[in-house]
């Protein structure tokens, strides 16, 4: 079953054409990684799905519903099905860890407060941060903040998890703790779209890999084909440089 289907989509930041005729299908439970040089449109693709960047043309369907991003109910639907973890964590700086994780399920999804808190504590335990419930983001390391951001996204009970270069702002020793968390989620069958520069991780976990350049999807294939027998010069060049 297709969980995400993007067809012939274009998107702009002002005059800048950031997504150019993008088409992509992702099945339920699939883990798809997006790779490509900086400024190639990888993060824009994730922002497109949650409506932080509006498509100019093309169709996008999420969990079998075609989304009209100018329609509030459609936008709510898309955002209920997806959860995004940002590169810079974007934790709410005025809230402690527990409140960061609980606020949207409780205030926006109108779920039972006790039930949400119980789930939040379980998730924070899962990412190794149960002892930091009352800490504020500024009191946490980058790796800890990123894991809180993952717990916050998961507490929304999304069908699709979007991860935007979640290890790029971290020290090497913190990368491992975040990637371990993602490995656990992958083993549980969560549909994930991951923007990453961690090629070993991409190879190990992804069912498919998208290569983007200058706002276009250059190739969409298995990790094996992308890394070992790339069809395009641009991919071979990028992979060659990054795996050196």
């Amino acid at each position: 079953m297709q969980q995400i289907k993007i067809s012939d989509s274009h998107a702009y930041y002002g005059d800048l054409h950031v997504l150019n005729n993008v088409s992509l299908s992702i099945d339920k439970g699939e883990i798809v990684s997006i790779i490509g040089p900086s400024g190639s449109g990888k993060s824009s693709l994730l922002k497109l799905l949650v409506g932080l960047l509006l498509p100019k043309s093309g169709t996008i369907s999420i969990s079998n519903k075609i989304i009209d991003y100018t329609n509030k109910a459609h936008l709510n639907y898309a955002r209920n099905k997806t959860a995004i973890v940002f590169q810079q964590y974007n934790l709410f700086e005025n809230m402690n860890v527990l409140k960061n994780v609980c606020i949207a399920p409780y205030k926006i999804q109108k779920r039972n407060k006790e039930e949400v808190e119980e789930q939040a504590i379980k998730l924070l335990d899962k990412v190794g941060l149960k002892n930091k419930l009352n800490s504020y983001p500024e009191e946490l390391s980058g790796g800890q903040q990123q894991r809180v951001a993952i717990a916050r996204a998961l507490c929304l009970n999304p069908e699709i998890l979007l991860l935007d270069e979640i290890t790029s702002a971290l020290d090497p020793e913190l990368v491992k703790e975040v990637l371990d968390t993602i490995r656990v989620l992958a083993s549980e069958g969560m549909t994930m779209l991951i923007v990453s520069h961690e090629m070993v991780f991409v190879k190990e976990l992804s069912n498919k890999v998208v290569f983007m350049d200058e706002g276009e999807i250059v190739d969409f294939d298995t990790p094996q084909n992308i890394f070992e027998s790339p069809k395009h010069f641009r991919i071979a060049d990028f992979v060659g440089k990054i795996l050196k």
Partner: protein, 225 residues
């Protein structure tokens, strides 16, 4: 000095004290109403100005024009302008109401800019995170943006309030019996200007000092939060 000591008992007569306290009340009310109304409407204007909806473009333009005009005209000019508009339009004869309307218009313009700067100081990433989790504009402001913006809004807002208490002295120019005007009246009655305006100075200090302390307290509270 001898003259001051001589005048003191008659200056501190019950009638003079009541007269000065009444004038102090007028200054206090002008400042309080100006600040409260200014804070309420100023915050509303800042919120509307931050919206992105194309439907609200005319409103946003009006807000920019209003704030830019009232922040640039001297207090006294605004006061006289409103005074004569009210006179010509026969709206009211109450000088106090004319002064209140003026202080509210000015405070709203200044505070809307202070609040807007506070809102701008919160990173766009906080708006994005809230949006991606389906927060409405109102919920984003209430839960995420304002709690982070207060620490940026409070210091200039309280400085403005304190300046404002002093600026209301200009209402005396149209005849509002506020603290400075009351001082002039007592001075005209023959009391020493040092005694009269020294007392007025102390009364202004009594009005503004607690507000200054309250401002410092709020800054500390929100800075640590």
């Amino acid at each position: 000095m001898d003259r001051l000591i001589q005048e003191l008992p008659s200056f501190l007569s019950i009638w003079n004290i009541i007269f000065l306290l009444k004038a102090m009340g007028v200054t206090f009310l002008l400042s309080l109403i100006g600040c409260l109304v200014g804070f309420g409407f100023g915050t509303l204007l800042a919120i509307f100005r931050k919206t992105k909806s194309a439907l609200l473009i005319p409103l946003r333009i009006l807000i920019v024009i209003y704030t830019e005009i009232f922040r640039r005209i001297p207090f006294l000019v605004s006061l006289l302008l409103i005074f004569y508009i009210f006179q010509i339009g026969k709206i009211t004869d109450s000088l106090f109401i004319i002064a209140i309307v003026t202080v509210c218009l000015i405070a709203t313009a200044f505070i809307s800019e202070i609040v807007r700067s506070g809102l701008e100081s919160v990173s766009q990433t906080q708006w994005d995170a809230a949006k991606a989790m389906n927060f409405s504009y109102y919920e984003t402001l209430k839960e995420v943006i304002f709690p982070q913006a207060w620490k940026v809004i409070f210091p200039p807002a309280f400085s403005f309030f304190i300046l404002f208490i002093k600026d209301t002295a200009l209402a005396s120019q149209i005849g509002v019996m506020e603290l400075t005007f009351a001082g002039k009246v007592l001075n005209n009655k023959g009391f020493s200007p040092i005694l009269v305006f020294g007392t007025v100075l102390i009364l202004y200090f009594i009005l503004s000092f607690p507000l200054d302390r309250f401002g410092k307290y709020m800054e500390r509270k929100y800075a640590t939060n």
